[in-house]
Amino acid sequence: MSEKRKYKKRYCKYCEAKVDFIDYKDVANLRFSLSERYKIMPRRLTGNCKRHQDMISTVIKRARAAAFVPYVVTRKKVITAPFENLK
């Protein structure tokens, strides 16, 4: 198993930074917990703790409603650094 593990030893990035509240408007912060296709990354890959994962998932859903983050990315639309084009 240890050979197959893709990611290093897991720890919660948000706990380390002592994040109490995440604002859905700063998209750059959400990028860590989003995949290439803007799916919410699972806890087992990012290492987020339960509390912060819950926070992140609600925040990402809010950001999707506000059109900061796409709901779906089709094959044609996949761009390497899409947030640089925003603004």
Binding site: D20, F21, K25, R62, A65, A66, A67, F68, Y71, L86
Partner: protein, 134 residues
């Protein structure tokens, strides 16, 4: 009274004055329902992550305010009728932690909209919107 935040996306086809008028209209809806606006932040014209009603861009405006929880349904009803808005997002800040975050956000907005930024924002927004109208 409870703290709320409303994000509003105004149609990009409007001119700068029309956008200001519709933002004022939105603020009026909140104040007429007994809301106290703490801060309002113009995020400006931005590209949307996905097209809404066939428009690729939108003018973002965020308003922080506090009202009685019962007034929210009326405010949202008025927003839904309003055809100037592409989208609105209402967020409630109820727990102690969230209220602290809300205060922080309000202060942050007040700092940025204080004297230096105020002169910059209208000049920046005006040419952008004109270019899009053409």
């Amino acid at each position: 009274m409870r703290n709320y935040e409303n994000l509003v996306i105004v149609k990009p086809t409007f001119t700068a004055e029309e956008i200001q008028a519709s933002v004022k209209n939105v603020e009026e809806i909140i104040t007429s329902n007994g809301g106290k606006i703490a801060a309002s932040d113009a995020m400006g014209m931005r590209k949307l992550a996905y097209p809404i009603e066939k428009s690729e861009r939108g003018y973002y405006h965020v308003i922080y305010y506090s009202v009685e929880p019962s007034a929210i349904s009326e405010i949202e009803r008025r927003f839904r009728i309003n055809e100037d808005l592409l989208r609105f997002v209402t967020i409630k800040y109820s727990t102690n932690r969230e209220v602290a975050a809300w205060n922080g956000l309000v202060e942050k907005v007040k700092k940025t909209t204080a004297t230096p930024a105020k002169e910059e924002t209208p000049t920046e927004e005006a040419p952008k919107t004109e270019a899009e109208a053409e």
